[in-house]
């Protein structure tokens, strides 16, 4: 039986393996190779060594974008998770209409980023016009605009994950805490939060990577204006790739660095939060 299975094993693995190779491994390795070349299209690459990586840091654009992205990610992770968790604990309290509210809060997540960007641009410009300015007037408007947009979009999704986590807490734990005379703050602090740590892990992971990789909303809302001050990493890569003739390789090099950054940050974050999870 085991031998028979071994024989047919390749047949079952092959489709998935082929799909994985074509859709993931080849483009990924190709992308890394391209970052060491000068190219206009993928078929006419010429070896260029490390020059693309040197050029990537030849002006401050990339580092500025990195700093802006880090600030943005930190703020977003806080706003999204705090608000989402608060909403989730409210909406698990058996209040009337919770289902309706859950749906309403979840909905923004279903709208595409470009559309959201334009809608929020209208809203923010509409408000700022009372002060005689627009969102591109100063980088801080763009920054908080992006924070508002991203929070609004991600909160609903994270809320659903937190709700699932909270509902999974065995009610006897909470009852026992009550019997022991714990206040609702104590319950939250010592029962609920430790019990939803797996959800926190997932939510932090999603918000960190989503905010770090944000592109569409950035493009539609500010397009980096004023100057390049509100350009995040993904937008900077895109602009390097297309705005300068002969700089496609540099854009590619930035993308590889970007990948390493995202991977490193999310791995560290996963490790940190995993260690705080308790067995349910």
């Amino acid at each position: 039986m085991r031998n028979g299975l071994k024989k047919v094993f390749p047949i079952f693995v092959l489709p998935t393996l082929a799909a994985f190779t074509i859709a993931f491994a080849v483009p990924f390795i190709g992308g890394i190779v391209l970052s060491f070349t000068d190219f206009t299209t993928v078929t006419d690459a010429e070896w260029a060594g490390l020059s693309n990586y040197i050029k990537a840091f030849s002006n401050g654009d990339f580092l500025n974008a990195l700093w802006f992205t880090v600030k943005f990610t930190v703020v977003c992770v806080l706003t999204v998770n705090i608000i989402a968790f608060t909403l989730a604990s409210l909406l698990t309290k058996k209040l009337p209409g919770t289902n309706l509210f859950r749906t309403v809060f979840f909905m923004p997540n279903l709208i595409g980023g470009i559309v959201l960007g334009y809608i929020w641009q209208l809203i923010i410009n509409g408000i700022l016009s009372y002060f005689g300015v627009t969102i591109t007037f100063a980088a801080k408007y763009g920054f908080w605009g992006l924070v508002a947009l991203t929070s609004w979009q991600l909160i609903g999704y994270m809320m659903i994950i937190y709700i699932a986590g909270i509902q999974n807490i065995p009610s006897d734990l909470i009852d026992a805490a009550k019997v022991d005379g714990a206040s609702s703050w104590d319950i939250l602090r010592h029962v609920t939060i430790p019990m939803v740590m797996p959800s926190v892990t997932i939510c932090l992971f999603l918000t960190v990577t989503d905010s770090f990789k944000l592109f569409d909303a950035n493009l539609a809302l500010t397009d980096g204006a004023p100057g390049k001050q509100t350009a995040m990493l993904a937008l900077d890569i895109y602009k390097t790739f297309y705005a300068r003739t002969g700089w496609q390789g540099v854009g590619q090099a930035k993308a590889v660095i970007f990948f390493i950054l995202v991977a490193a940050i999310s791995l560290i974050q996963l490790k940190l939060t995993r260690s705080r999870e308790v067995e349910g």
Binding site: F12, P15, T16, A18, A19, I22, T40, T41, V42, T43, D44, N59, Q121, N125, S129, G132, V133, T134, I135, T136, F137, A138, T222, D223, G224, A225, P226, G227, K228, K239, Y242, A243, R244, T245, G246, W247, Q248
Partner: protein
């Protein structure tokens, strides 16, 4: 149950892979009706592929393709890149095995990016059509890009509104007709007094909004900036034309920057929209303001008529829409005409088979040389072409195209060539645009714009030539 699902997934995967493998020659985009009729004699037929730059002409090209196939049996596939995404689309398409055989480059700077893909067109009849051979993009004796449409831009004005102004009893100027406006000084006088009388004229401002939203600043960073750079580079005696002079310039002085400031400030000071709010305005916004009669003037080019006419509630009459050159206060500008040139050059892909290259050239010769093709060009694409195959009466009927012809025919008036074709890349333009935006919003002085332009030119020239 698990087994069934596994088999199902395996089958789906294999099928989707197979679908990838069949190389969707026509399945990818190809909007026009492509029925697989055989050409009969040859058995296998040539297919050529044109990647179109002008979204407004997409539908016309589909009909051209159908007619061309009927007449010659050669199948023409036309794909149109969405507005502002041509470079992206071309980058993606040209790497495919079914690559565009005809594509467009936007001038000498675009040529540098696509050099490896441009076939030499020197010995083609298509090149011989060109009336002024110097318009083509050449390098070391080879011809790589051929312009196919001549466009012009300036200040478009609504004559009904200016006439209304000239008829006013309490106007403060001596001006009585637009013919007297031949310098920045006169224009400024007119505009400022019109702005003062805007309520009587029924307008919100003389100029439509100076669109500064992202992606909408090209009217200033290329078109308006063209004038000061033209004057600066025309002083360089080593070159016969300003475009080559600018292309070889590692640095710019931006000597006539104050002249640009003159006209730019005139636009923003006498605008429909308050200065600080211009950052949210798009080109479409300003064209609709002009079309609805809220503004009397707008800077734009020959291509703008269809946009104006398409605005619901358009009040601009076809015979009342006129052009004025971009006067910026340079000495001797009374003889300056509209900015006339092109950033539309056709190139044939040198990496496809000889047969396809020849078929592509044949198509271009048909489009710009045959009776059927020319009819499309003049009546539907509304192109003023640089080709000698078109008679003098074979010109588009659009009012702005007609105005362009009128301006270029004027004796003593010298058109300004499109020097901006030599601007060192999109990054330069976007740096320029951000500086202009800060200036408009009052957070930067004009000197900052000037410095940004100088520095960015230098950086981008180096990036381009490194």
């Amino acid at each position: 149950m698990k087994k069934i699902i596994a088999v199902f997934i395996a089958v789906i995967t294999v099928m989707s892979l197979a679908a990838c493998g069949t190389n969707g020659g026509t399945s990818t985009t190809a909007p026009q009706g492509q029925t697989a009729t055989s050409t009969g004699t040859q058995g296998k037929k040539t297919e050529i592929y044109f990647l179109n730059f002008k979204p407004e002409a997409a539908e016309v090209y589909d009909r051209i393709a159908a007619d061309y196939e009927k007449e010659t049996g050669v199948k023409l596939k036309v794909v149109t890149a969405a507005s502002n995404t041509y470079e992206q689309t071309l980058t993606g398409e040209i790497a495919k095995s079914d690559a565009p055989t005809i594509f467009q480059i936007n001038g000498p700077v675009g040529f540098r990016a696509w050099k490896k893909y441009c076939a030499d067109l020197k010995d083609t009849k298509f090149y011989s059509f060109l009336t002024d051979k110097s318009l083509a993009i050449t390098e070391d004796g080879g011809v790589y890009g051929i312009p196919y449409v001549i466009e012009g831009y300036g200040i478009i004005y609504n004559e009904e509104i200016t006439d209304k102004y000239f008829a006013l009893g309490d106007k403060k100027t001596e001006l009585t007709s637009m013919a007297q406006i031949n310098s920045f000084k006169a224009l400024k006088e007119l505009v400022e007094d019109m702005q003062a009388h805007k309520d009587e004229l029924g307008i919100d401002g003389v100029f439509a909004s100076t669109s500064m939203a992202s992606g909408n600043q090209w009217r200033w960073t290329t078109h308006l900036a063209n004038v000061p750079f033209y004057y600066e580079f025309s002083e360089n005696g080593e070159y016969s034309d300003t475009v080559s002079a600018a292309l070889d310039a590692p640095e710019t002085e931006f000597k006539y920057s104050d002249n640009m400031k003159n006209l730019f400030s005139l636009y923003t000071d006498n605008s429909v929209t308050e200065k600080k709010l211009l950052g949210s305005k798009s080109v479409a916004d300003s064209m609709s303001e002009f079309a609805l009669g809220k503004a009397a003037m707008v800077q734009n080019g020959t291509w703008a008529w269809s946009e104006i006419a398409d605005v619901a509630g358009n009040t601009v009459k076809e015979d009342k829409i006129k052009f004025l050159p971009l006067y910026t206060g340079v000495d001797g500008e009374e003889k300056q005409g509209l900015c006339v040139g092109t950033e539309n050059y056709l190139a044939v892909n040198s990496t496809v088979s000889e047969e396809k290259q020849k078929a592509s050239v044949d198509f271009l010769e048909w489009l710009f040389g045959s009776e059927t093709g020319k009819k499309y060009v003049v009546n539907e694409l509304n192109f003023v072409t640089p080709f000698n195959t078109f008679d003098e009466d074979e010109l588009p009927k659009e009012p702005l195209a007609a105005e362009l012809v009128k301006w270029t025919a004027k004796k003593d008036i010298k058109s300004v060539p499109w020097t901006f074709a030599a601007f060192p890349g999109d990054a330069f333009k976007s740096d320029f645009a951000s500086a202009l935006l800060s200036f408009v919003q009052g957070s930067a002085e004009w000197d900052e714009v000037k410095n940004t332009v100088r520095n960015s030119w230098k950086d981008e020239y180096e990036a381009l030539n490194s």
